[in-house]
């Protein structure tokens, strides 16, 4: 199992992180080191073992299905890099 530049480029794209072309070989090489380390997991006999979903056995609590929060538009927008007229502003999404 080896990661090439194309795979590194694809992963960066999926993660929405811009990686310049010239940085791809180094990135692929780091991935290979890390994945090589992770590869040890293939030695473990996991037949019939359930994947862990929660570390402590507990039932999720339920609460009444009622509105408990809201009407805080100003607070919600306070940290936005670009907020206009009560909305988050982003570059044009639809042509």
């Amino acid at each position: 199992m080896s990661i090439d530049n194309d795979t590194a480029r694809r992963v960066a794209k999926l993660a929405r992180i811009r990686v310049e072309e010239e940085a791809l070989p180094a990135l692929a090489s780091e991935f290979n080191t890390i994945l090589g380390f992770i590869e040890q997991l293939q030695e473990v006999d996991v037949d019939g073992v359930e994947p862990m979903t929660g570390v402590t056995p507990m039932h999720l609590k339920r609460r009444d299905d009622v509105v408990t929060d809201g009407s805080q538009q100003e607070k919600v927008l306070a940290n936005a890099p670009d907020a206009r007229e009560g909305f988050f502003a982003v570059p044009k999404v639809v042509e």
């Binding site: 890390i34 473990v44 073992v49 609460r63």
Partner: protein, 494 residues
Amino acid sequence: MTELTKLTIASARDALRKGEISSVELTGALNAAVDGSDKLNAYAHKTPEIAEAQARAADARIQAGDAPDLCGIPLGIKDLFCTENTPSQAASRILDGFRPPYESTVTTQLFRDGAVMLGKLNMDEFAMGSSNETSAYGAAVNPWQADDGVALTPGGSSGGSAAAVAADLCLGATGTDTGGSIRQPAAFTGITGIKPTYGRCSRFGIIAFASSLDQAGPMTRDVRDAAIMLRAMSGHDPKDSTSADIAVPDFEAMLTGDIRGKVIGIPREYHVDGMPTEIETLWTRGTEMLRDAGALIRDISLPHTKYALPAYYVIAPAEASSNLARYDGVRFGHRAKLAQGDGITEMYEKTRAEGFGAEVQRRIMVGTYVLSAGFYDAYYNRARKVRTLIKRDFDQVFAEGVDAILTPATPSSAFGLGAMKDADPVQMYLNDVFTVTVNLAGLPGISVPAGLDHKGLPLGLQLIGRPWEEGDLLNTAYALEQAAGFVSKPAKWW
């Protein structure tokens, strides 16, 4: 009386209640110490005005006779905790300028009890690191030095917290621990740090890294202080669905130091290749101390230990890649400057490339890869199955009567800042080899300073306890602390 900044939480509490000191005096002394500590880079954001106001309120409360243990006690808060209207940016550029409009549950509880906040403490970016070097603020520096005077790491990710407690820049600090981020820095700086059982402290308002592993905990001068602070931080919170609705005992009252008849397990798999003799010796000495205190020592096996780190480096990045998807330049924090014609995808990609440091980017991408179509079963699901086996190892030894497990806290003492610069990322990950199993199994673990190495640097031992039995674990740690008699402090050079 001891210099104010050097007081333990317990002694400061007692002096405050007796009226021997005021919180305003105590806080003033610490604010001054913090001001003079820039070489350590422990505080990323200082909040002296908040501290003074909280101290005045605390003094009034103490005079009125309504004083919980932490009333008037100056603490440092890790930058990972959201504190209302105060910078909280997880040591990341991507949260530059972020001021949370809400307060984390843990800090809410600390302030409810009258604690004073001196400032926000440095850390590895998004708690991803073992040396504090991934911080956007630059690395925090260990107050401890060897004779050569080389600047050392305070460990990570809670490195600022550890440096601040060790250098008398607060009486205690909050930390968080996803793979060892409380216990490793505690060991590197000669202080005490406990990661409680998963679910003991609410995660609400703590900037998420790997949600199934993240836990908050206290970092303090000694075990008693850890007991006091943990009690205030713990408890059920409806805002965190994994927070446990289990009563929080008075941990301090459980510190009797009597561990006669307790069974202490010594796991053979923790004798790792290349471990320095000094660490082996310290571990043996710790074992003897517990035996001398009346505990029964038993050799045990935790057969899947070897696979804990690789499993962690699948699960933690996978969860991180999902948690950190929220940093998109839309709702908070940094947004990249866009070029003419850039659309939303360019905005995401440029923002995240500029905002995240190299290690965070690496982990997000590794997480993205192991969760991607075709690899999900081979990596992510397999790691979760191995996690089940790691927890089962612990369940079995506890079922066989083991009360606590003693291991080294770290495979070495603090290393030099920059020393791992050319090492591959996996070399840095090996720092967590003794601590990461505890996060995967959701157990409580505590690091206690137990000695100095040949360079005069602190070394810690780790005790691992049964789930929800932090009181018993703290008591065993208390017995170890008393036997080890660790009192060394770093010589002030900053």
